[in-house]
Symmetry: C2
Subunit: 141 residues, 2 copies
């Protein structure tokens, strides 16, 4: 009742289980995948019933693109990544989410895409605390 | 000299070898991957020196997003896809290109992402001719 729309937003339980929350931007919730093999952000537009990338409302498209770009630039700057991979796949988790992944020529599966290869390696609490702080400072808007 | 910028555009040889050309949109060249396991379009912005998704110039962002959405909607409509996968990866081919892939719950590798799994299955000339015609008619702008 009288809640702004985004307060009704519910993150899919699989995304919640696999990530740390960085912050909410104007449109998207920014998450960090709990897999230290790759610095890996996930952007989830806080709107109900989005599934495919092209389901995003006309009014939200510019914000989504800007937030993907911002997350990509921050990740590249913080990590010195060789390449940023951006993808909306969602075959397993139907809630629209956009992967923004920092890749390195010496990372675990380079040059292959990261999905479905090997097992996630969780961060230790101290590692992730420091990375989350850096990301919170650098990501804004 | 006095050529419009896009006439200087050169498609990466690997993309040229793996695809059929559908047409040029305002920003992107639309290609069809020669792999009949999945109806699979690739959009290549006709600009020099783009590598990451966030390298796209501010003035081109709305067009790129619109062209991705249009290609996605056409592919979904033409094929009855269950899900559209959108991705800018580019670990192997450095020229920025955006994958728009129609996925089905019964396709070759569902629910995994398509890259790096199995071998491409080329279309026969008659199959691809008819698909290219349909795509040429449906994709515009």
């Amino acid at each position: 009742m009288n809640q702004p729309l985004h307060e009704l937003f519910r993150l899919h339980e699989r995304l919640a289980a696999d990530t740390w929350t960085i912050k909410d931007l104007a449109l998207s919730r920014v998450l960090l995948m709990n897999d230290k093999r790759y610095p890996w952000l996930i952007l989830v537009p806080r709107r109900d019933d989005l599934r495919d990338f092209h389901d995003v409302a006309e009014a939200d498209k510019a914000a989504l693109h800007a937030e993907i770009d911002h997350a990509s630039a921050v990740l590249k700057e913080l990590t010195g990544a060789f390449k940023i991979n951006v993808a909306a796949i969602g075959n397993m988790v139907p809630q629209l989410h956009v992967h923004v992944i920092a890749r390195f020529e010496e990372d675990a599966v380079w040059p292959k895409p990261v999905w479905g290869l090997g097992e996630a390696v969780p961060y230790s609490p101290s590692e992730v605390g420091s990375l989350i702080e850096k990301l919170k400072k650098a990501i804004h808007g």
